[in-house]
């Protein structure tokens, strides 16, 4: 198990997350496009609320750069869906509920407290991590500027 966020240049690990409809979201789903994974600690918590609200405001800008943004937490899909709907956002949610935290562990972002670290991981269309960032603490909200720094740093030539 990694003890820090997976670094750039590393092949994204094998993982299985669940979409809101219960279907699987796996490493193969990352291939062929750029993906921004936003690992956040808890649905409905204050900083996560601010974070997803802020990122929703730039979701189209991320999309224009050929990337899709997802929220990832250990909450159950029903909780994530309720969270997304309560915020009125369109950022798709991926659940790491069972086995709890397995995908977060694979990406090196599982907090000992039993929740994801607050981290951002950008995966390229080749399935390789092109950029990653872990907040100094789960209470720190990474600015959306960091996502665009990451996308620019890993932009296709």
């Amino acid at each position: 198990m990694r003890d820090s966020v997976v670094p750039p240049g590393t092949l994204a690990p094998d993982f299985t997350l669940r979409r809101e409809d219960g279907s699987e979201f796996k490493r193969a789903d990352l291939e062929g496009r750029r993906t921004v994974l936003v690992f956040y600690p808890f649905a409905f918590s204050p900083v996560c609320t601010d974070q997803l609200n802020l990122y929703e405001e730039v979701r189209e800008d991320i999309h224009k750069r050929g990337a899709t943004i997802y929220g990832v937490s250990c909450d159950a899909s029903y909780s994530q869906k309720a969270f997304r709907e309560s915020l009125g956002i369109a950022i798709e949610q991926l659940s790491d509920f069972e086995p709890k935290g397995q995908a977060c562990r694979a990406f090196g972002v599982y907090h000992p407290g039993g929740f994801p670290q607050r981290a951002l991981v950008i995966v390229g269309p080749d399935g390789v991590v092109s950029w990653s960032y872990q907040a100094p603490s789960p209470g720190d909200l990474p600015g959306a500027n960091l996502i665009f720094d990451g996308l620019a740093a890993s932009a296709p030539a």
Partner: protein, 170 residues
């Protein structure tokens, strides 16, 4: 496509909304008109001698009326009444729907047809978005966020923090 990567907070420009005297301490504020903490902060800032710069940072999923309110303020600005509209918007955040915006425009004796066209115009939307993007680039994550004296202050900025801020900025 706008660059949204990291950049310092932009210095004051001619296009900014600025109030106060040039010799007063400069505070750049990123705020939204539906944010209650912004309204409280605005009152606290008003009671001090400051050179204030207001920039829009509306988060629509959090405050659904914030974008329209920002555009209304910009439309008022085109008739030279930005700060008056700013104060009226913050004064009653329970009433930020279209009829309430028209009522404010009327009370400021704005040209209502022009106000209505301007607040829905691409140019005004772009103006609001420009502020928002400059905030994103400067790592603004919530409202209100203040920049003063090379420091950033964000969230609920209480009186003692404000006192410290204004001391630092002097």
């Amino acid at each position: 496509m706008s660059d949204l990567g990291s950049a310092p907070v932009p210095p004051v420009s001619d296009d900014d909304h600025v109030t106060g005297d040039a010799e007063d301490m400069l505070v750049i504020e990123y705020a939204d008109f539906e944010c209650p903490f912004c309204a409280v902060l605005s009152e606290r800032l008003k009671s001090r001698r400051l050179r204030r710069v207001f920039r829009h940072f509306p988060i629509r999923s959090r405050h659904p009326r914030a974008w329209a309110a920002a555009c209304a303020a910009e439309a008022a600005a085109l008739q030279g009444r930005f700060w008056e509209m700013h104060d009226l918007l913050f004064a009653d955040q329970a009433r930020l729907d279209d009829p309430h915006l028209w009522a404010r425009a009327q009370s400021l004796e704005l040209d209502l047809d022009r106000f209505e066209a301007d607040r829905r115009s691409e140019a005004v939307g772009a103006r609001v978005r420009r502020d928002f993007e400059s905030g994103v680039r400067a790592a603004v994550v919530t409202t209100p966020t203040l920049f003063a004296g090379g420091q950033r202050y964000c969230g609920q900025i209480r009186e003692h923090a404000l006192a410290l801020l204004t001391q630092t900025a002097r």
